[in-house]
């Protein structure tokens, strides 16, 4: 599912890291994922070549960290916080509502490619728990009702764009 000319894009991203060494591996992976939305096999091979790092090490580092994805995500990445305050305020009910509404499980993407759902470590807005973020936009003091509206808003936005 990689775009055509992915490798050219990756190559141009790698140019931002002259004199790169092993310490730049994670920033490089982050930079490439920011642009490509996920890390494909060929991308990781290119990065390994660039850094002269064994591929098993590149893959081993990338799979260690939660941030990196290996499959294309949805257009809107829903991240629901699993922090203590959010849990205490009932984030599991919110999650259940989302799963019900989107008909996907965590780690999955809707079949129309619109939404992907994941649970992330504490976002740091505990005073307003439960919290979620969609493509970096924060939504706080969530309730199952609010969730319905928020998702619908995004759906409406998509429909009007078409």
């Amino acid at each position: 599912m990689s775009k055509p000319n992915t490798n050219t894009t990756v190559a141009s991203l790698l140019k931002k890291f002259p004199k790169a060494n092993r310490g730049d591996l994670i920033p490089i992976l982050q930079c490439v994922q920011d642009s490509e939305k996920f890390l494909s096999k060929s991308t990781m091979m290119e990065i390994g070549e660039f850094l002269k790092l064994p591929l098993s090490k590149v893959y081993g580092v990338a799979t260690f960290y939660n941030q990196f994805k290996f499959h294309p995500p949805g257009k809107y990445q829903i991240q629901i916080c699993r922090g203590t305050a959010c849990h205490v305020e009932g984030s599991s009910t919110i999650l259940a509502a989302l799963i019900n509404d989107l008909k996907i499980n965590t780690g999955e993407t809707t079949s129309d490619g619109l939404f992907s759902l994941e649970v992330v470590a504490c976002i740091g807005a505990c005073g307003l728990a439960p919290v979620m973020s969609i493509n970096g936009e924060f939504f706080a003091k969530l309730t199952t009702e609010k969730i319905k509206h928020i998702i619908q808003d995004f759906r409406d936005k998509e429909a009007s764009n078409e």
């Binding site: 960290y65 203590t84 849990h87 504490c122 728990a129 970096g136 003091k141």
Partner: protein, 657 residues
């Protein structure tokens, strides 16, 4: 201040002073003292000559809709033909009152309003700009200023209940100043401590001052900061590193986020001084990727510092060079551990290694490195400006200074509080926090996150310091306080933390990787219901609970790093204070708080049931039986605890047991 000139000028001479002036007043050659004093006054923003509006736009504020409020404000202001300013500020710590909007009118004290949703903006602005005092009843508080007029019947911030018992040193400017303005920071005596340090103090002297102050690591380690610096200073090396740990992985903690978002220069000044103290010429700020706003503010602040030549080569003509590099975390709680953090910066899997050697002797790339938490570093400039005696006059015998706590959970006033060490937990929860919300009964407050324990009613009078908490099986941690009430199940809380640990364990050592899995498994079995129970599960349940303590000991005693060593704490703590809840789960197969969904029993009250059969029809597992017009009953063996029946019953005849 001398003639309105900034204090920093006492420590800058020659070309560095000239350059400082050129940054302060760009385009003005040979500025006079009057020019400088005037500019400083303007930058300070202690008084204004046109209406200023401040919007709390930290992550909390944004989550509460601050941008919508801003939009509404812009709309309203269109109708007034006035020159105004809108400044986005960080978190003042009043999360429960976000979105917050401050109004600063010329000649009058700055006023703060809470819960300013877009629909409220117009009335507030209209009233204030038309001098209608009735709106003041909606104000939270006002800021005190010697030369400005006081608003009638509005409390001062220091009298406002939430702030009354606080002592704000780290957070003193958060939510007040413009985080993106280096000018304002400098005008408010910013970088004076740095200039003074570079001009007048040797690295060893700096270390001694910090050690004497009694400052201990605020990330949870609680090690004497000055002492740690001295280890690194005394280890000879061609290169040393200083690392700021802004990973803040503890769920429930957001103190560091607020500081970096709201007052990034406070952190940076402390970091530069610290790097000087150990003679590190390269510093890293390791900040978690989940804080994009904080990262953006940090990047801006650092860029400004390079422009003002407060970073780079030969800072303030002192001969000291420093570069600061931002490294974004990639989502691993374990990277809050020092050696794991170092490995992450080196581009490896974030897994800890045995110590010794300690990082201060052999750390990043094998060189002496010191790692300090954001809050620790945010204290440094104040200590150097006001002295170590000033700092250790606050607090109690073994813990000096203040601590920032993040209050969240089932409490009225959620937010950030900074209090002197030694304050009691009761004061924080009830005086500052306002007690549990919705009139519920207080049950416990979790302190220290997944490495900590709970403080219950019997221990609420405990004086909070590093050592006292350990005596009751808890620990300070980074400062996250999550309040729980009667509706929270403590077994569920323990399970929550164990799930967290299992997900975040790096997997390197056996006791943590396998041991916490066993513990998670035991807690799963305890909270699971009869329907999903198979064969040996009951036996396993009993065996498991007996094993918990022994297993906890093994994990605590033999794990490689702090994550594993403290992983059993929440379980041990809840087991100690809430044994009856565990026993109810294990032996009675029920959850007293009604949280563990599989252990809840739904019951139909015979006297209220009208036999409408609606619940039976809705039941997805056909667990409800009964004839029409006769009371129905629920077969708990078949019930999947979905709660649909309770939702649809119009007669209130179904209860959760």
């Amino acid at each position: 201040m001398n003639n309105g000139l900034p204090l920093i000028e006492n420590y800058l001479i020659g070309s560095s002073l000239e350059y400082f002036h050129s940054c302060l007043l760009p385009g003005v050659t040979n500025p006079t003292s009057k020019d400088i004093a005037e500019k400083i006054e303007t930058l300070k923003n202690d008084s204004v000559n046109k209406p200023y509006f401040f919007i709390g736009a930290g992550t909390c504020g944004l989550g509460a809709g601050a941008l919508h409020t801003e939009k509404a404000l812009l709309n309203v202001l269109k109708n007034f033909n006035l020159d105004t300013e809108i400044i986005k500020v960080g978190c003042i710590g009043l999360c429960f009152a976000e979105p917050i909007m401050d109004v600063f009118l010329p000649g009058k004290n700055r006023l703060s309003f809470g819960n300013v949703t877009p629909d409220k903006v117009e009335s507030i602005v209209q009233a204030l700009l038309n001098d209608d005092q009735t709106i003041l009843s909606q104000a939270l508080f006002q800021y005190r200023s010697p030369h400005l007029k006081v608003w009638q019947e509005v409390p001062f911030i220091e009298d406002y209940p939430f702030f009354k018992k606080q002592r704000r040193i780290v957070l003193n400017q958060c939510g007040i100043i413009n985080p993106l303005s280096i000018g304002q920071y400098i005008a408010q005596n910013g970088y004076v401590a740095l200039a003074k340090t570079l001009k007048k103090l040797t690295p060893l002297e700096v270390c001694n001052i910090i050690e004497k102050s009694g400052l201990k690591g605020r990330g949870g380690g609680g090690f004497l900061t000055g002492k740690k610096w001295k280890f690194a200073l005394s280890t000879p090396s061609d290169q040393k590193y200083f690392i700021c740990n802004a990973d803040e992985g503890d769920p429930g903690a957001f103190m560091d986020r607020a500081v970096v978002e709201g007052d990034p220069h406070k952190l940076l000044e402390g970091l530069i001084i610290a790097a000087y103290a150990i003679q590190a010429t390269k510093a890293y700020i390791y900040i978690r990727a989940e804080y994009p706003l904080a990262i953006a503010h940090l990047e801006q602040a650092i860029s400004d510092l390079y422009e003002w030549k407060i970073l780079g080569d030969n800072i303030f003509d002192s001969g000291f060079d420093l570069d600061i590099i931002i490294k974004k975390g990639a989502g691993a709680f374990v990277c809050g551990e020092e050696t794991a953090l170092i490995h992450s910066i080196e581009g490896k899997r974030g897994m800890p290694r045995p110590r010794p050697p300690f990082p201060a002797v052999s750390g990043l790339h094998g060189k002496p490195s010191v790692i300090n938490n954001v809050e620790t570093l945010a204290n440094i400039s104040s200590i150097l400006l006001q002295g170590s005696d000033w700092f250790n006059s606050m607090g109690n015998n073994n813990s000096k200074g203040t601590k920032v706590f993040a209050l969240s959970g089932k409490i009225k006033n959620t937010g950030l509080v900074e209090v002197p060490m030694g304050i009691t937990m009761r004061e924080i929860i009830f005086d500052i926090g306002g007690g549990p919300k919705n009139n519920k009964l207080f049950k416990a407050v979790q302190i220290g996150g997944p490495s900590g324990g709970c403080v219950t009613n019997e221990n609420l009078n405990i004086e909070i310091d590093y050592d006292s908490l350990k005596t009751i099986g808890a620990m300070m941690g980074s400062g996250g306080l999550v309040v729980m009430d009667e509706d929270n199940c403590m077994v569920d809380v323990a399970k929550f933390f164990m799930d967290f640990i299992q997900r975040e364990s790096c997997g390197k050592c056996i006791p943590c990787r396998e041991g916490t899995k066993q513990m998670q498994n035991i807690l799963e079995k305890i909270t699971r219901g009869r329907i999903s129970e198979k064969g040996n599960d009951a036996l396993d349940r009993f065996k498991g609970i007996l094993q918990l303590e022994e297993l906890s000991n093994t994990i605590k005693e033999t794990s490689l790093c702090g994550l594993g060593q403290s992983a059993p704490n929440p379980i041990l703590s809840t087991l100690k204070y809430f044994r009856h809840e565990y026993e109810a789960h294990i032996f009675d197969r029920r959850c007293p708080s009604g949280v563990c969904s599989e252990l809840i029993n739904f019951e139909i009250l015979e006297d209220k049931c009208k036999g409408c059969t609606l619940c039976a029809k809705k039941c997805p597992s056909s667990a409800i039986k009964g004839s029409p017009k006769a009371p129905h009953y629920i077969n708990n063996e078949k019930c999947i605890k979905c709660g649909q029946c309770l939702k649809v019953c119009k007669f209130g005849a179904i209860i959760k047991n």
